[in-house]
């Protein structure tokens, strides 16, 4: 998802690297050694990671919006407490990732600025609206399920700080996915109206979730470099297939149907096969024409502006306290 940045071409200027250092770096990657912040690394490796990790962080932060939509309308206090702590986790994930990104020599201000200016992307999935309560179930079960599929291989990423952040995140995502499935199960076993809500959510989220894994391998722009450098470890299609195989039986257990008349189990390959994915929709959403792109960016910019006085107050307070302490020390 969350790895969509790896499908973009590196647009930075070409850098001629010292061949000896480059060879040593390649050997370390090939030997599955971890690269740490102060180690020498090729400029393209650094740039790819800054793009990937910062966009991953932005996705976590923007991802709070579709769920925030239902906090005040959660059906019970229990569901509300769970939803709040899930949203708090997303903020935490964003912070772990921004910290990991900063170890690559870029400042927090620069990466946040790139998002606010519309230069950096975030996962396409968060540009879809959350129209009914069952969407909280579908997001946890499907969106977080797809995220886990993507993120587990990232736990073994060659860049140490990113890999460590991913390990923490994966542990927490597991709660997200299970609570989402539980919401779906409760609705699916509820009244016909409740089951219809669950079905409606599945119908709307299924295809966008399959798109989260990025374009098919045949047209993906990602370089073989990110595979060789052990940033990306599986292809988009491989991860998507894993997700489909894991998820279809879970949906059938709920007694729901998938919005794909061509979905069938291939006995020979033992894989579930879907109908064709509408990639023109994916392109539109990435280009800013999804249902909620403008709203998400507007809210994000507004939040940044609304928080300015809090940050300013913290700065002034810290200065005042430091001055008072200096005065006391002098007495």
């Amino acid at each position: 998802m969350y790895a969509q940045a790896l499908d973009q071409k590196d647009k930075g200027p070409a850098v001629i690297e010292d061949p000896e250092r480059l060879a040593r770096f390649e050997a370390r990657c090939a030997a599955d050694e971890k690269i740490e912040p102060k180690d020498w690394m090729p400029e393209a490796y650094r740039r790819t990671l800054i793009r990937q990790v910062s966009q991953h962080a932005h996705s976590e932060v923007i991802g709070m919006q579709p769920e925030g939509n239902w906090v005040t309308r959660a059906p019970s206090l229990k569901r509300k407490a769970v939803l709040l702590s899930k949203i708090q986790d997303e903020a935490g994930h964003g912070l772990y990732l921004y910290s990991a990104c900063e170890t690559l020599g870029v400042s927090r201000e620069e990466v946040v600025e790139a998002l606010l200016a519309g230069k950096a992307k975030y996962s396409s999935i968060f540009n879809y609206p959350t129209l009914n309560w069952a969407d909280m179930g579908a997001i946890g079960w499907l969106v977080d399920g797809a995220a886990i599929m993507n993120q587990i291989p990232l736990c073994r990423c060659s860049y140490g700080p990113y890999a460590r952040a991913m390990i923490r995140i994966c542990k927490e995502e597991s709660f997200h996915q299970r609570q989402g499935y539980e919401i779906m199960l409760t609705l699916a076993r509820g009244t016909p109206a409740q089951k219809a809500m669950a079905q409606d959510a599945l119908n709307r989220w299924w295809w966008p979730c399959l798109m989260m894994f990025g374009p098919p391998d045949a047209v993906s722009e990602h370089s073989s470099e990110s595979m060789r450098w052990k940033i990306k470890r599986f292809s988009n299609d491989d991860l998507r297939q894993k997700f489909i195989d894991a998820t279809v039986p879970q949906g059938l257990f709920l007694g729901l149907t998938f919005p794909d008349p061509e979905l069938k189990f291939n006995e020979a390959t033992e894989h579930w096969e879907t109908g064709p994915i509408d990639w023109s929709e994916f392109k539109r959403v990435l280009a800013g024409e999804g249902p909620c792109n403008r709203q998400r960016m507007r809210v994000r910019r507004q939040t940044e502006a609304d928080g300015a006085w809090v940050r300013e107050a913290a700065r002034v307070h810290a200065k005042k306290r430091a001055a008072r302490q200096a005065l006391q020390a002098a007495e």
Partner: protein, 100 residues
């Protein structure tokens, strides 16, 4: 908005260390930005201990940490590789003597 954040003074970076439980050492878990030590401790609690990960937190301004340079790695750590006699497995103890 975006104009604003450009003029804002960046908040200092802190490294966060957590003691998972009594009897274990504090371990580095990540970093965060805060204006002072008090705020860094509050934020570390919220960001890094949401699931009872620790019983104690240390925060320290990143620019106060002195670190060895990876370039010096061989010079600093390579000599120990040849001193295998510093490990117990270097010495042979007859089987009859038993566990030592």
């Amino acid at each position: 908005m975006s104009e604003q954040s450009k003029t804002e003074e960046p908040m200092p970076l802190y490294e966060v260390f957590i003691r998972p439980k009594a009897g274990l050492s504090h371990k580095h878990v990540g970093s965060l930005h805060a204006i002072d030590d008090t705020m860094a401790l509050h934020m570390a609690r919220d960001v890094y201990t949401r699931r009872a990960e620790g019983v104690s937190i240390w925060v320290v301004r990143s620019n106060l940490i002195a670190a060895s340079d990876p370039v010096d790695k061989d010079m600093l750590f390579e000599p120990t590789a040849s001193k295998i006699y510093r490990h117990p497995t270097f010495y042979e103890v007859p089987e009859e003597v038993g566990h030592m």
